[in-house]
């Protein structure tokens, strides 16, 4: 049984209310931080913990905090990025829905560490019911003196507000989130300047994922060094993984970073294997934007070593034979699933969600979507496959924000690992249309 830090009390009835949460050790970190630690101490603990951003890029949170410019007389802002909209990722929703006070607690401690007196939680527009849950938790925190003026008599003031998004994936990009919060169109800004220097309303700003902020609570409670003991190498602590697809037990799991992928998929403690006794065909280990892995590269790396659930473990082999931990959206495909259809589905998402600001992403994502739709519907040509590979090479790295890369990588990886399947769609157009999904048994039975 792995250690649970975030979801420890998730099954306690009524944990979403302040009383129950408090009885189970809630808000201890606020007391500890405000009464015994200086803001710099909290930042140091987070740096010592080695916590890496849980939103997808895996940038060390402590380092991000240390970059925050601190000019005199200018307010600083902490924004919580709860605009979780990557296909396959639903961990933040689970956390906010079940144990909203953990996020509120994390926000108070993190805001204290950064010296912010006004913080925001930017929640995705589709999560309206979650917004109400978190709003209630914030109201309870205010009523009990954990938010507002002079928190716990320490002289520290903090106001926490929720800002609902309009349901755009792009607003999960930190500068687009800031633009959206300012009431403008959610277009990513051109960097530099980075938000740590000029963010919300031109002031220094830190944007952190829900899970990163929640993880600050156990770090402050137990100390950064204690947190760093969990995990492996530079991947410290626990991570929420939202497992979905053809699994026996899909759901949100908190794992210690560093367990093997094989254990995660097949052991009964976690996902319990592939549903209906089928074989695994492919896996997207970190949300739709990371490269897909074929069956032979999921549990073992190209060198034959066991693949680990960690930032480095999943990235082993680079883009040629590896993937990324990303935001922890673990999608598993069984042998009946069609990779072309899935790739088209992802491409359709990115074509729809591209903000349309810079040309490679705007035109490229739409183009890839159209080509993939033709391939899936049996109207493709052999040269379309090379064309797709060409297009995504020209999008990657040429865009303002990482959405272009996120759109390009899954297509590139699908072609790299499942080229035969794309070719099968061209050579067997009638069957491709008729079956629409699941061509493994026709074309390349997995023995």
């Amino acid at each position: 049984m792995g250690r649970k830090l975030l979801l420890e009390h998730i099954d306690v009835p009524g944990i979403e209310t302040f009383e129950v949460y408090r009885k189970n050790g809630g808000y201890r970190s606020v007391e500890k931080a405000l009464k015994t630690m200086s803001p710099q101490n909290v930042v140091e603990e987070v740096q010592a913990s080695g916590l890496r951003g849980r939103g997808g890029a895996g940038f060390p949170t402590g380092m991000k905090w240390s970059f925050l410019a601190k000019p005199e007389g200018v307010p600083r802002y902490l924004l919580c990025n709860a605009d979780e909209s990557e296909p396959g990722t639903f961990k933040d929703r689970y956390l906010m829905e079940k144990i909203p006070h953990l996020l509120v607690e994390g926000m108070i401690v993190s805001s204290y560490a950064l010296g912010c007196n006004q913080s925001y939680i930017y929640i995705r527009g589709e999560y309206m019911w979650v917004l109400e849950i978190v709003e209630k938790a914030i109201a309870e925190a205010y009523a009990n003196g954990f938010l507002g003026k002079n928190i716990l008599g320490s002289g520290y003031d903090l106001d926490l507000a929720i800002a609902p998004g309009g349901g755009a994936y792009i607003c999960g990009e930190e500068t687009a989130l800031i633009e959206s919060l300012e009431g403008k169109r959610g277009n990513p800004r051109i960097k530099p300047p980075f938000p740590a220097v000029r963010g919300l309303w031109g002031c220094p700003t830190v944007v952190n994922n829900v899970e990163s902020i929640a993880a600050v609570v156990p770090i402050v409670n137990d100390g950064g060094a204690e947190y760093a003991k969990i995990g492996i190498g530079k991947s410290t602590g626990t991570k929420l993984i939202s497992a979905c697809g053809n699994l026996v037990k899909p759901g949100v799991y908190e794992i210690e970073l560093g367990i093997t992928v094989e254990e995660f998929i097949y052991s009964d403690e976690w996902c319990g294997g592939i549903a209906n006794g089928k074989k695994i065909k492919a896996c997207v280990p970190g949300g739709s934007s990371v490269p897909i892995l074929p069956a032979n590269l999921i549990t073992k790396t190209a060198e034959g070593v066991d693949r680990l659930m960690s930032y480095e473990g999943l990235a082993e082999g680079g883009f040629a034979s590896g993937s990324m931990l990303g935001s922890g959206g673990f999608i598993v495909f069984d042998e009946d699933q069609c990779i072309v259809r899935n790739t088209w589905n992802f491409a359709r998402f990115y074509a729809h969600e591209s903000c349309g600001q810079c040309s490679p992403c705007r035109e490229g994502t739409g183009w890839m979507e159209k080509v993939l739709r033709r391939l899936e519907n049996g109207q493709g040509h052999m040269h379309d496959i090379d064309l797709l590979a060409e297009i995504n090479k020209k999008i990657e790295g040429n865009t303002i924000c990482p959405l272009g890369d996120a759109a390009a990588w899954p297509v590139a990886a699908a072609i790299r690992h499942f080229r035969e399947e794309f070719e099968w769609h061209v050579t067997h157009p009638d069957e491709a249309v008729k079956r629409n999904f699941g061509i493994a048994s026709n074309h390349m039975p997995l023995v």
Binding site: A351, C355, G356, C358, S359, R362, K370, V371, L387, G397
Partner: protein
Amino acid sequence: MVKVIIDDIEVEVEPGTTILNAARQIGGDVVPPAMCYYSKLQGSGGKCRTCLVEVAAGSTADPRPMPKLVASCSTPVMDGMIVKNKTSERVYDNRAAVTEFLLINHPLDCPICDQAGECHLQDLGFEHGKEGTRYEEKRRTFDPIDIGDKIKLHMNRCILCYRCVYVANQLTDKRVHGIMHRGDHAEISTYIEQAIDNDFSGNVIDVCPVGALTDKTFRFKSRVWFLKPMEASCECTKCAGKAVVWMFGDEIYRVTGRKDKYGEIEDIDGKTAWICNECRFDKKDKSQWNIEGPRVINRHSVIAQNQYLVDERIESKKLN
């Protein structure tokens, strides 16, 4: 002052200058093309990605190359930076790719487009485009609409550079148009077909790099290369009154701002000489203008032809 090397040419510029502006100080074909950047409009740039350049060395202090191509219009130079534009294969490849991206949904109706001859996309296509297209899908189409009584919007031709949005934001009191929707279905539009009605709204036509926004008083009257551009001025209470009148014989066909070789309105007496709608749309009689002399136009592919005065630097390159 910081020193920067662009395509093996060293130039000294003010700190904080962007790579593109440093390249413009050198001039010639070292200058990357810019479809969305407009030096007179604050905040423009970074969107079209045609000006991407390779940075072979970041600065003297940190001489590592930058892994990605950077947008030269929004990246400030550092002391000792080495930039590759025309000397980089990678830059050319990516510029060709961006050109292709910009053209896949473009109607390529240059034969009937009023912008033809002074169109930045035409120039870009001429320099970086390929023969034929790999795009087999249906193009995104819109109907041309009137935005205001003097401006026509051909959304089909638009490359979403946002320049007109910045003009409306920075020149007029109230912006009534903007970008609607996202991705490749994004479009320039007014709020529920509201009319753009403002003294300086006509400048959106001047800043449009393509033929998406055209002057209704000039549409289909003549090809621009048949007209004589003349510098002219008039007494105007709203604007500086410095414009270029495009004449055919003694008739004025259209009036535009004085654009420099990068298609940007020139500064006159330290102020950008935007012209007002009255000068642009209503003063079409020769008696209303004081005509100063012929206007020199270069860099544009078509109307630059048949010009008696040419840039000496370009001439000397041709001989070599």
